[in-house]
């Protein structure tokens, strides 16, 4: 049911990547993509390719760093890990998303009630 998958909001992928790295430690691009898909229960419409744009963006901002290494199957891959700056940023982002989700929930809930009363 690809139609029912969630499109990604601008900026959400960056937060997911940071969170994944914070939770799982160093990971390669494929690993991060798989992890996000698994955690989201395959509810997110993720072109795995887009993850690399996110990775380079985070790197340039100094929130993650990358190192070449070998994967479990001995394939050469880049491993990304979160930096202290990245952790600070993640903290801010998590707080922001929590607030936003809360507000969104309240706003939407009140609309449903109004509709119900009408």
């Amino acid at each position: 049911m690809p139609e029912s998958k969630l499109g990604l909001l601008q900026g959400t992928l960056d937060v997911m990547v940071l969170q994944t790295l914070a939770a799982m430690g160093p990971q390669h691009g494929y690993g991060i993509a798989r992890r996000i898909e698994q955690v989201s229960g395959d509810e997110i419409l993720l072109n795995q390719g887009t993850i690399y744009a996110s990775l380079v963006r985070l790197q340039q901002r100094g929130w993650i760093r990358a190192k070449w290494g070998a994967s479990e199957n001995k394939r050469k891959a880049r491993f990304y890990s979160i930096t202290p700056k990245g952790r600070v940023r993640l903290g801010q982002d998590v707080a922001y998303w929590r607030r936003l989700a809360g507000v969104m929930g309240r706003v939407l809930a009140s609309r449903v009630q109004e509709n119900g009363n009408a």
Binding site: H28, G29, Y30, A33, R34, N47, Q48, G49, T50, Y52, A53, S54, V56, R57, Q59, Q60, R61, G62, S71, N73, R75, K76, A77, R78
Partner: protein, 886 residues
């Protein structure tokens, strides 16, 4: 900041980043496959799934680049690389496109440089916008009428409240007025007498030495001269110690008080075509006042005074001064801003050139646009593939624009070189009587203009092709890939419109040029009143011993003997048909004196005047002036006999209204008794070819001794070079110090006077030819492209029995239809706009049918030729091959 630096670095380390990314993506896909295979999926299916999951590889790359780099710098670099590759792949197209755009840009930049020098750039003086030219009459009226008398000028200068200061120079100078005897070589120099404050008023300071002091500006004061930079370098080896020393000028020692800077070029501003060598003081005294109107005047307005308000004051003050009892000529000052005086006359011509060059540039753009459109159609498939790989439409449009801009910038580079050559060539054209032309050069403004023009034209000619980039409908475009290229009817229409526009612009240009060429021919065809062919002139001033202020009887006899000797020797040279002497040549300096029918009285404002020529016997036949009635002067018309005068037809008509003029008496010239009309000659165009003759009178130099300069005029079978050496050889015994001079043919003289007109006509003709070629190329490109597109259709029609002739006619008809529409539009625009150049026309009406019909015929012929080639090729098509070609 850090991010910006990282991005900037990324733009430079592009290829390594790109490789890293590729490795990463490959690893990613491989790991996905491994995962799937380990879950029991078939390896081939696993690969498909993995790639699908990944999304577009190209899109991922593009996103990565965008996230990584400074997007515009990165994309620009990529677009440029891509554009360069495309250009390299089609070198013929690139060279052709760059060449025509470069020619257009070069033409535009060159014309812009001329325009900016003549019209935009301020004159090379301090605060030039406050300088005003003060004339006594409009420029059509001859120098005597235009100039001011010394005391009138002084009185005006002292009493007006508009001018901070006013200066003057002696307007009746002639090339070669001074002779310098230096290092054993005699040379005739151009010297200009100026008022003491002339250079200070303009804000020109001597680069070494000083200006003239009060004593030097007195009558018979100590002789002094300011040298031009050019003369100082050329004859005195830039010797700084020359200042303060004397040089032998006109056989007397003259102190060099200073040298003017190289930046000051009198000729370029005030007298195009003449190179002033030195400047001497002109005393503003009673003696010079007696000479009558002599001064050309420049004034500097006080701050805050406009030229209009100054004019109002000048008109009143002029009347006031004229009515005063002091004897003198009328003063009716007419003020013109100096800049306008210098280049105003050329303004319409220059604006015409500017319009022409704009038209040329538009044709160039239309042409390139068309070429790019054709190419764009052929590249439709390439675009489709690129957009299938994830390139957005905006990206493709940007790509097309980048290519056209790159083409335009290359063209600008080449065009700038061409324009540099062009402006240098123009600046070197000393034979043209155009002010400031020598100072035309490519400057920063012109370069800025070129770059702006290149960017503008790049966008203009790239826009149509860019907007024709396929709109995302990838499948559609790819499906049609079997046909060589897809072409919508909309596409073809746009190209036809462009061609029609080209033809229209070109025909407007051709009509304008045609009218000016016909005017030019009319001017050359004018009855000059003299015959320049086989006639030549050379300046030969008298040896110094004959120059006396007061002519005693013996002095006059000696002078007459000298002239007899000169003329006798020259006439005996082989090849000489006629020889004579005159004080100033036609189309050169002029002066007017009064002339009245004896016994008549005239109102003060209506006293007749005529141009004065002091000549020897033989001048009239030597110049080829027709004697209508009576006779030429002879050696026997001397101070001992009755004063004789020869008049032209205009004077005869004007004074006696058609009654017999020969033998009548007139009051004219410096005589105490009336003079007798001994001959009537044809009118001579003395001021300009385009200007009617006006009144003219001739005196013999044996009776009138006021000869400011002496020209020997010969009618001979020899060419000027041979003439120079044989005449010099003959005359050297009479004047051992005769400076080296060259004979100039009267044809050259006429040529120089039409040079501004010729300058415009040549440039316009060049532009028009270029436009015609471009328009015909445009027609050719469109027709041959549409023929190529319809190859199959043509094949089918031929297979069904259409004759090659009918096909050929069909295609030719299509071509001529385009041409006819273009011509109709062009003719309409021409008819509306030729009124604007009416001032430049001579003897041709703006709606001249010959020109219009000529342009129509030429354009149709060119269009037919351009259409014939592809039509012929189409008619030779083998239907089988055409049908098979898929």
């Amino acid at each position: 900041m850090r991010e910006f630096l990282a991005r900037l670095l990324a733009a430079f380390h592009r290829s390594r980043r790109e490789q890293d990314l590729d490795t990463e993506i490959a690893a990613h896909v491989q790991m996905a496959i491994d995962d799937l295979v380990s879950r029991g999926v078939d390896p081939r299916e696993a690969r498909r799934l993995a790639l699908a999951k990944f999304g577009g590889v190209e899109a991922a790359r593009e996103q990565h680049r965008e996230a990584r780099g400074i997007p515009w710098a990165d994309r620009l670099a990529q677009d440029l690389r891509y554009a360069l590759r495309t250009m390299r792949r089609e070198p013929a197209f690139t060279v052709f496109a760059v060449a025509i755009a470069a020619l257009g840009i070069a033409a535009a930049t060159t014309v812009f440089s001329v325009l900016s020098t003549l019209l935009l750039r301020p004159l090379p003086f301090s605060q030039p916008d406050r300088l005003v030219w003060v004339a006594n009459a409009p420029p059509e009226d001859g120098l005597s009428a235009q100039t001011l008398q010394v005391f009138r000028f002084l009185s005006f200068r002292n009493r007006n409240h508009s001018f901070a200061d006013m200066a003057a120079y002696f307007a009746f100078y002639e090339a070669g007025d001074s002779t310098l005897n230096w290092n054993g070589r005699m040379e005739r120099l151009n010297a200009l007498p100026v008022s003491q404050n002339f250079f200070p008023l303009l804000g020109v300071k001597p680069e070494i030495g000083r200006g003239f002091n009060n004593q030097e500006c007195q009558w018979n004061g100590p002789k002094a001269a300011l040298l031009s930079h050019g003369l100082w370098v050329r004859r005195f080896a830039s010797d700084p110690h020359l200042v303060g020393r004397t040089i032998p000028l006109d056989n007397s020692p003259v102190t060099v008080v200073g040298v003017l800077p190289a930046s000051f070029d009198f000729g370029a501003v005030f007298a195009p075509g003449i190179q002033m060598d030195l400047y001497v003081p002109f005393p503003l005294t009673g003696e010079t006042d007696h000479w009558g109107n002599t001064l050309a005047v420049v004034g500097r307005l006080k701050p805050g005074i406009t030229s209009q308000s100054a004019q109002a004051e000048a008109a009143v003050l002029g009347q006031l001064i004229t009515r005063e009892p002091h004897r003198g000529n009328d003063i009716t000052p007419q003020l013109t801003p100096l800049k306008q005086h210098v280049s105003g006359r050329l303004r319409p011509a220059l604006l015409t050139l500017a319009f022409a060059v704009v038209a040329v540039m538009l044709i160039v753009c239309a042409n390139l646009s068309n070429l790019l459109l054709v190419r764009g159609a052929a590249r439709q498939k390439e675009f489709a593939i690129r957009s299938a790989l994830g390139a957005g439409r905006a990206r493709l449009v940007r790509q097309v624009l980048t290519e056209s801009l790159l083409l335009a910038l290359f063209a600008a580079a080449v065009g700038t070189c061409l324009a540099w050559l062009g402006t240098r060539a123009l600046a070197g054209l000393t034979a043209f009587n155009i002010p400031l032309l020598t100072s035309v050069r490519l400057d920063g403004t012109a370069l800025a203009f070129t770059i702006a023009l290149a960017v503008f034209s790049g966008v203009v000619f790239g826009l149509a092709p860019a907007l024709h980039v396929p709109r995302g409908d990838v499948g559609e475009a790819l499906k049609e890939q079997g046909r060589a290229a897809t072409d919508s009817p909309h596409h073809g229409l746009l190209r036809s419109v462009l061609v029609v526009a080209e033809i229209a612009f070109a025909s407007v240009l051709l009509v304008g040029t045609g009218l000016l060429i016909r005017s030019f021919l009319r001017v050359l065809d004018v009855n000059l009143g003299f015959q320049p062919a086989r006639a030549a002139a050379m300046r030969i001033d008298m040896p110094s011993q004959f120059l006396r202020e007061n002519m005693t009887k013996t002095a006059v006899a000696r002078r007459d003997a000298y002239f007899n000797d000169v003329l006798g020797r020259v006439r005996s040279l082989p090849g000489t048909e006629a020889a004579g002497i005159i004080d100033s040549l036609p189309l050169g300096r002029n002066r007017t004196w009064g002339i009245a029918a004896h016994g008549m009285t005239y109102k003060p404002n209506e006293y007749p005047e005529a141009f004065v020529h002091v000549v020897s016997d033989g001048y009239i036949p030597a110049a080829g002036i027709r004697i209508i009635e009576g006779r030429d002067f002879t050696e026997r018309d001397t101070t001992e006999t009755e004063p004789a005068i020869v008049i032209n037809e205009t004077v005869a008509r004007h004074l006696w209204h058609g009654e017999e003029a020969l033998g009548r008496q007139v009051d004219a010239g410096p005589f105490k008794t009336p003079c007798r009309v001994v001959g009537i000659v044809s009118d001579v165009r003395h001021l300009a070819l385009e200007q009617g003759s006006g009144s003219e009178m001739y005196f013999t130099l044996r009776q009138v001794h006021d000869l400011p300069s002496i020209y020997l005029v010969l009618r001979s079978r020899l060419d000027t070079a041979a003439l120079t050496s044989s005449v010099r050889h003959t005359l050297l015994p009479l004047d051992p110090e005769m400076p080296r001079e060259q004979f100039e043919s009267l044809e050259q003289l006429v040529d120089r006077s039409v040079s501004p007109r010729r300058f415009i006509v040549y440039l316009l003709a060049g532009f028009a030819a270029f436009a015609l070629i471009l328009a015909s190329l445009g027609i050719y490109a469109v027709i041959s492209y549409s023929v190529g597109q319809r190859k199959q259709e043509i094949g089918i029609r031929m297979a069904l029995g259409a004759s090659p002739g009918a096909l050929q006619n069909g295609i030719l008809g299509e071509t001529l239809r385009l041409a006819a529409i273009g011509l109709a539009v062009g003719a309409f625009v021409s008819a509306a706009s030729t009124q604007l150049i009416q001032g430049l026309l001579y003897g041709v009406r703006p709606e001249d049918p010959v020109t219009f019909l000529g342009v129509v015929a030429l354009m149709l012929a060119v269009a037919a030729l351009a259409g014939y080639l592809p039509a012929r090729r189409a008619s030779l098509t083998d239907p089988m091959i055409a049908l098979r070609a898929e």
